[in-house]
Symmetry: C2
Subunit: 140 residues, 2 copies
């Protein structure tokens, strides 16, 4: 964690560039999300952020998560019948497989599908701004 200092500086800069103040709460959440390999929901983000800033409130987590999303610094997903989940934005684009039994979420990527999506939209006179593709699956 020798680089954690520099990480925090980067985050501060990023926040300010987005016109946001670099508060302890925002930094705590950015740190938590940067460390994530999974797709936690707000409650879980709150729990994890509390380990860095014990006085952070759930309202602030909600607010921050939405501010950071608007700033393009994190990504929100809301799977069927579940609460919103969040993940880092610095990975390559991917879609999700939801394991219906365990609730586990896997990632996959298909250029072919992306390609077909824009072709279809294009034929109908549209540009794809973003999309949502989720496969609800059961182990074979």
């Amino acid at each position: 964690m020798t680089e954690s200092r520099q990480q925090v500086e980067k985050m501060k800069t990023a926040l300010r560039q987005a016109g946001l103040r670099a508060t302890a709460q925002r930094l705590a959440l950015l740190q938590v999300i940067a460390e994530n390999e999974d797709h936690p929901e707000v409650e879980e983000l709150h729990r994890r952020a509390e380990r860095i800033d014990p006085k952070i409130s759930i309202a602030t987590v909600y607010r921050t998560v939405s501010v950071l999303e608007r700033a393009g610094m994190i990504q929100r997903h809301s799977f069927e019948g579940a609460r919103a989940r969040y993940e880092r934005v610095d990975k390559r684009h991917h879609d999700h497989i939801v394991d219906l039994e365990s609730g586990e979420i896997l990632e996959f990527q298909s250029n072919r599908i992306e390609q077909l999506q824009s072709e279809i939209a294009s034929q109908m006179g549209y540009d794809v701004i973003h999309h949502r593709l989720e496969l609800y699956c059961r182990k074979r």
Copy 2:
């Protein structure tokens, strides 16, 4: 509407086959949804059903819609940041394009994409039970 009588009989049979009683409210909603070419939400379904059965309550619409979905008689969709929408189940499978400007919902179908989806899932050890594919678009 000479065939409406027979339509209603069919619906009654379908309900009973699903182990459900054929109530006026359920028939009203099935009728409303059968006539739909669009993707109305609960509030709108209620309004339309009231024209057939004026005493139907919103609670019953919520309940019925969920019962009918569980029975596979209608389909629910919940697009980003919007309330659930419903449509008939007797059309060929399709996915949706959401016009970000107007909120309008178009339908499209791609066997190639479906194909790729099962291939990908299969490679990861899964069977696709159902999926959700939505293109959020802007007119070109």
